[in-house]
């Protein structure tokens, strides 16, 4: 029994420490906000906001208040707004403790690819390259394998990189992995997942 999306998000939330400023990427990372519990976490939206609140109630959407995924959101009592240059200043300057991002591929040396598939999908890197270059800790959440059953934890990335040697920890549906000297280290297995399953679905070198 591998983790589902919500369980991955719940596991990722455990990585966050009280008082941290955190940036959550689009997709599963967004769900992490549901699991921070009592911890004092301030969410950054890189389009110019600290203290991102939940979606608005119907009828209260404000076109001037969106997140980096262009979704309508709300403000909190701690919220501050600023421009994009300031926003990425704090990202590059290391003021954001952690970013939790999705990925297409991660390599055993921490290389990350999540912004384009040449000739097919060309959406752009948005703020991802700045985030992985600047924040304190880069945590990736993604499925362990793609739809064809091929490992997304690779010896080397095949897609254009978002960042080189930038990933610290990977949370997949099968478990938790750290980027260490020589490869990836299995930190934790999802309930009911066996080491044999992980070995068979992991191309990257697993070290102890």
């Amino acid at each position: 029994m591998a983790w589902d999306r919500n369980q991955m998000a719940e596991r990722a939330a455990q990585e966050l420490q009280d008082g941290w400023y955190v940036n959550l990427g689009i997709g599963i990372p967004t769900l992490v906000a549901n699991y921070v519990g009592d911890k004092d976490i301030t969410l950054q939206s890189e389009n110019g906001m600290l203290g991102m609140g939940p979606f608005p109630f119907e009828g209260e959407e404000d076109p001037d208040l969106i997140n980096a995924g262009k979704q309508t959101i709300t403000e909190l009592s701690r919220t501050a707004y600023f421009d994009s240059a300031t926003s990425f200043g704090m990202i590059r300057g290391g003021k954001i403790a952690a970013a939790i991002l999705g990925a297409m591929e991660v390599a055993e040396n921490g290389d990350l690819a999540n912004w384009m598939i040449p000739g097919k999908l060309v959406k752009g890197m948005g703020g991802a390259m700045d985030l992985v270059a600047g924040v304190g800790k880069v945590i990736v959440i993604m499925d362990h394998a793609n739809k064809k059953g091929e490992s997304k934890l690779l010896k080397e990335c095949t897609l254009p990189l978002t960042g080189k040697g930038v990933v610290d920890r990977i949370i997949t549906n099968l478990g938790v992995f750290d980027v260490v000297e020589g490869g990836l280290k299995l930190v934790e297995m999802a309930d009911g997942v066996t080491r044999a399953e992980i070995d068979s679905l992991t191309e990257a070198t697993l070290v102890n």
Partner: protein, 234 residues
Amino acid sequence: MGKIYNSAAEALDGLLFDGMLIAAGGFGLCGIPENLISAIKDAGTKDLTVASNNAGVDNFGLGVLLQTRQVKKMISSYVGENDEFMRQYLSGELELEFNPQGTLAERMRSAGCGIPGFYTKTGVGTVIAEGKEVKKFNGQDYILEEGIIADLSIVKAWKADDTGNLVFRKTARNFNPPAAMCGKVCVVEVEEIVPRGSIDPDHIHLPGIYVHRIIQGEHEKRIEQRTVRQREEA
């Protein structure tokens, strides 16, 4: 002769020319200069290079200038949500220079601040670094990025006074201040022009020195992704 003009067309009069570089504020469809984009469409100015984080959607925002083929090249960080953009790019009809979002914002701010180049870790070891100078600081590699000077900046603010002091609202601020800074000329559209002295000078987000022409306009302010939560039943 003040800074206030009666219409977008009037405010752009004499500023547009084929092949020019325009910096546009906005993020997605939030805080975009809707009226100025329309007026550029109407003017028919061609071979534009546009520096803007996104390119709107197919029929709104900068997307309308892609539909009319007025844009030769985009400098952007994200082009999703725009099928026509993707199509023109993949078919080679449109040039696209991808910039990481923070690099794009800083390139605008830098140029406006007299800084022709700066070093950043963003993009080191990726295609973004190709052809760029690399320099080590404290043993780590950084790449040189250059400022973007625009022939014209088009910007959307919430309020302006008649001297051009600007106030933005919530996340509609985004790229507007850096875009305003990097233009040789900056034209701003606002929802409301207020008398000078009615904005607390400590609440001004961008001083009027960056603003050359102002119009008051109607704004559709289209929402790109309407997300809501349910009220709990009482």
